[in-house]
């Protein structure tokens, strides 16, 4: 049994899981919110891109519009509703993000319905062959983008005032406020950053997986599994975990008895990780 083609196949989706997971961790580190609407923010942007492409708008404009719509959705929730929940439990703040997710699923259902659609990028037609598998340029872009975004966020956190504020917030929200950290500004910036991540992740997932609102919204779950493997702290661990989850899911395909159930692998991996890592939640939620 040759498993190499499946590893190559899993790389692309793994990279998008990584991108999504990092987007989740960035927000969690700055605001303490686990964003269940991440997939929905991405999905609405991807649907807008598809619509614009149907109207023969240039690809670059459609991509920018998609990221702009996702970012605007994330910003709107982060600026209007998230501050109202900022002093509630972590669980309440996470559950609060289900509201925009469900509203966006409804909006996408009303506007675009449930008919299957296909979002195509020119890079889908370009590829390199590895182990008898075509690795399309879209997948290569997903991998490069995931790495580039992690590098950019790492630099932002370590080299900028905003990054410093974010790290301060991550350690102690109240103490940061006393020390003069602009809480609302910093948290809103984090929502914008996660919105940009969701825009790119949504576009790539819509291309690599399928353009369907509910489905893309639920793809936040493997990303949460990756974020948990990164202990909701480490961007690089989260990125690596996302890629590994994608590869693990693909690599189980040739094993006939487990293949029909391989979609459960992110949950099982996360469950095992939580059990082994144990202190994840305590570490991540320290001083909140």
């Amino acid at each position: 049994m040759n498993i190499l083609p499946f590893i190559i196949s899993g790389l692309g989706i793994g990279a998008v899981y990584a991108l999504s997971g990092v987007g989740l961790v960035v927000l969690f580190r700055a605001t303490g919110v686990l964003n269940f609407a991440f997939g929905a923010f991405g999905a609405i942007g991807a649907h807008c891109a598809w619509q614009l492409l149907e109207w023969k708008v240039p690809l670059a404009v459609a991509i920018l519009a998609a990221v702009a719509v996702s970012t605007a959705s994330s910003f709107a929730y982060g600026r209007i509703f998230a501050p109202m929940l900022s002093h509630r439990d972590t669980v309440v703040r996470a559950v609060g993000t289900l509201a925009p997710a469900l509203i966006l699923i409804g909006i996408m259902g009303v506007i675009w319905g449930e008919l299957p659609r296909r979002l195509q990028l020119p890079t889908d037609q370009m590829f390199v062959s590895l182990f008898a598998v075509r690795l399309t340029f879209t997948r290569i872009i997903a991998i490069i983008l995931a790495v580039a975004m992690v590098v950019a966020i790492t630099l932002l956190l370590n080299r900028t005032r905003l990054g410093l504020d974010m790290r301060a917030l991550a350690n102690d929200r109240d103490l940061s406020a006393v020390l003069g950290v602009r809480i609302l500004y910093t948290e809103t910036a984090a929502w914008i950053i996660t919105g940009i991540f969701s825009g790119f992740a949504g576009l790539l997932l819509a291309d690599l997986v399928r353009l369907q609102g509910t489905f893309l919204t639920l793809l936040v779950i493997p990303a949460i599994a990756a974020a948990i493997l990164g202990q909701l702290q480490s961007l690089w661990q989260t990125a690596a975990a996302g890629i590994l989850i994608g590869i693990a899911e693909a690599a189980l395909t040739p094993i006939a008895w487990i293949s029909p159930y391989r979609a459960a692998s992110p949950f099982i991996i996360a469950l095992v990780a939580v059990t082994i890592l144990g202190g994840t939640a305590k570490v991540a939620l320290k001083d909140r």
Binding site: N2, P5, F6, S9, G10, G12, I13, E114, L115, P116, R117, R118, Q120, D124, F127, V133, R134, T136, L205, V209, R210, Q212, F215, L218, L219, P222, G246, E249, A250, T253, P254, S259, P260, Y261, R262, A263, A264
Partner: protein, 417 residues
Amino acid sequence: MPIDLRGLAIGLFLTLISAFSAHAAASCGDNTGKPATGEPIVIGAITGKTGPDDFSNSTKAAKAYFDCLNANGGINGRPVKYLVEDDQWNPEIAAQLAAKLVNDEKAVLMVGNSSFVECGANADFYKKAGILVLAGVGVPRECYFAENYAPANAGPRVSMLGAMGYALDKLNAKSVVCIGPNIPNVGTWSCDGVMLLAKEKGFAAQTILMDPGSADATSIILQAASSKPDVIVLGLPKGVTVPLLTAAEEQGLNQSITFLSAASAYDLSVPSTIGAGWAGKFYVNMEFNDLNAQTPDNQNWLAVMDQYGQKSDPRDTFAQAGYLAARIAEKALMTLDPAKINRETVSAAVRQIKDFKSDIFCAPWYFGDGQPRHNANSTTRMAVAEGGKWKVVSDCAPSPDPELKDIRAFEKSAGIN
């Protein structure tokens, strides 16, 4: 705001023209043009509207037909009171709704049912209650293996094997991979049929069951292609079929392998969605006639939908199925004395249906009196994606499903088809 009288007049004129043209075409019951006013005949239906997918197009079309019938004299003067309930894809709710319709509402017949869960949940109850079901769309095995349940459609297994028969006869397929969903009594049941046919006819076959919620279509396609089959037969919802075809095209497999599907992918939007790369490379089985067929009954279905349905009601195979179920029910009820319509007389009349003819079916539909199961629709056509549309490429052909032996034997003994 000032009213533009000229615009209003033009609008009214156009509306009248469109209404008149639609009215002229719809034909129902005795075509009296007079509304039925007698005591209503209660007919029930259970459909899966809310849940993972909306299956209610069948009952929407049946309702449109019954509304048309009621506006044209009904059943010898008596209107049909059509009660539709949503089981929400939940077997417990399906059972409660069946009890409500059959016991409380005193339905005499169930028509147009279309659900993933209610066949299994209610088949025994319907038998005990002595009520028959003229279903629109059956999906899992239970819909085709119940004494009182007779769907209008062929079902995923018979449809998939219809596609397989075409692959063997017209595409000279010598090896196949069957991809189905890992849903009990759906995916395994369908692909087991392909495996059984392979054993009988001596061609190579392999089954892959997949989680329809899986994000990774490429790996499934790579796994299917690894045995180098001539054809790959899919038995999945269209929302899962399109990503699989996209992944296959990405890997260049549309150039080397022919893909076929059960009727679940027969949707007018699919050929343009999958794109030019699949022209002449993707075949689907059609449980019914072409949705745009210019034949009289198909045109009547469209006219009924235009005149009595909602504009937003899809004109798809599910709607064809619901329309046919309502027409079959009408045929049975019309044979009865309107004063003596009850569950017993209706059931007896439905059991006698032997030659319901419609150009939407390939062969006359029958109930199958005394039979422990029903699968009257098992002769189907094929279409291929071409130029962003479906092109019908075959005449009606019987599905080679080995499991239909008892059905074929009954048809022979009863002189049907």
